[in-house]
């Protein structure tokens, strides 16, 4: 099958995956960890149990996916915001490096943080 010479399908896949996963899961985290638990709306586990949970391999994988893909979602969207919103498409190569560079750096930092929990 003939495919594109450029990498847009690759970035778009990360964008699409990031959009889906962040739309589904980030609101849950905001409500639970940002509002409900700090306000003590219900009894919950203590900090050590959370730590234990976060160290589970599946939890690490989940955190990695949510954080990294959300960053790539942002990167792609911000790239096109700069292209179309600020009409900076002539700076395409710098914008691409800047946006996806931040997401890639963020992904590395995420890996380090997840394994140092």
């Amino acid at each position: 099958m003939s495919v594109s010479k450029n990498n847009d399908p690759f970035w778009w896949t990360l964008f699409g995956a990031g959009g889906t996963i962040s739309a589904f899961f980030i609101p849950i985290h905001v409500v639970l960890m940002g509002i409900a638990i700090p306000l003590g709306w219900f009894d919950t586990m203590d900090y050590d149990r959370y730590l234990e949970l976060a160290r589970h391999p599946l939890a690490r994988l989940y955190l990695f996916a949510v954080i990294s893909l959300s960053l790539f979602h942002w990167a792609h969207r911000f790239r096109y915001t700069l292209y179309d919103g600020l009409q900076l498409k002539h700076l395409e190569q710098y914008i691409v490096v800047f946006c996806y560079g931040i997401a890639t750096a963020g992904t590395f930092i995420t890996v380090i943080l997840i394994f140092s929990i």
């Binding site: 099958m1 003939s2 495919v3 010479k5 450029n6 690759f10 778009w12 896949t13 179309d84």
Partner: protein, 247 residues
């Protein structure tokens, strides 16, 4: 008789280098569409006014114009909607204007042609083997996209077309999908080459205005989104299984 004012954007390159608005008062009739009012001007007020139209029933796709900044088919847009007026009429946005309300369609038609909106078959069946049969479900797969009448309203509604004139645009992708989803067609590899490259489907940021203004409910935005998914799957396949990417 009640009348309504039409402010028509005119461009007469042999007289003036800049386009200008000209006001025309036309009698208001409840049954009139914008095109009827333009025809009234042409027949009774100013024979020099130039615009395209043909079928006056929303089929030919010739009479698309900007009415109060919205791209519409003037043959199915009633004067009454815009009362008391004035009603501002301009040529379709983002197209080069030839004269008055007539735009140059060459660029658009070139994009449509690049999308290869015709049946491409690897092997032609001999006539003796009979027809290419299709089930109602197979027809349903592409029928919606086959309703496109090339009226170009979607191009005038698309801000990406406005910013990037090279962008292939909504109708061309919808027409490509009309054949990609046809069970008789083998051409989607050829269409991919054009539609997945720079200024192809991934330039679309899903604003969705193309589907809002489409007079035939083709949903070009949906066609583009579906193409992005197909394109992404094929891109990943070509990375994971490069030996299958020879076609």
């Amino acid at each position: 008789m009640e009348s309504v004012t039409l402010q028509v954007l005119r461009y007469l390159p042999e007289e003036k280098s800049e386009p200008f608005y000209q006001d025309y008062d036309v009698p208001f009739q409840k049954k009139w569409v914008i095109l009827d009012a333009l025809n009234y001007i042409k027949d009774h007020v100013d024979g020099t006014l130039t615009y395209r139209w043909s079928c006056r029933m929303g089929v030919c796709g010739s009479c698309g114009m900007m009415v109060n900044d919205q791209p519409v088919l003037t043959c199915e847009t009633f004067l009454e909607t815009y009362l008391p007026g004035p009603i501002r009429i301009a040529p379709l946005s983002y197209f080069a204007v030839i004269r008055d309300l007539v735009v140059n369609t060459d660029d658009f038609l070139g994009k449509v042609k690049r999308a290869k909106p015709w049946l491409i078959t690897d092997e032609l069946k001999p006539v003796t083997e009979g027809e290419y049969r299709q089930t109602p479900d197979e027809l349903k797969e592409y029928k919606q996209y086959s309703m496109c009448i090339n009226c170009m309203l979607c191009y005038s509604a698309c801000p990406i077309v406005g910013l990037d004139p090279e962008f292939v645009g909504p109708a061309a992708v919808a027409l490509a999908q009309r054949y990609n989803y046809d069970s008789r067609d083998d051409g989607h590899g050829q269409r991919n080459k054009i539609l997945m490259d720079d200024d192809g489907i991934y330039s679309c940021t899903l604003v969705g205005e193309c589907s809002v203004v489409c007079p035939k409910a083709v949903d070009p935005a949906g066609a583009i989104q579906r193409y992005k998914v197909t394109g992404a799957v094929e891109w990943w396949k070509s990375v994971v299984m490069p030996w299958k990417s020879d076609k």
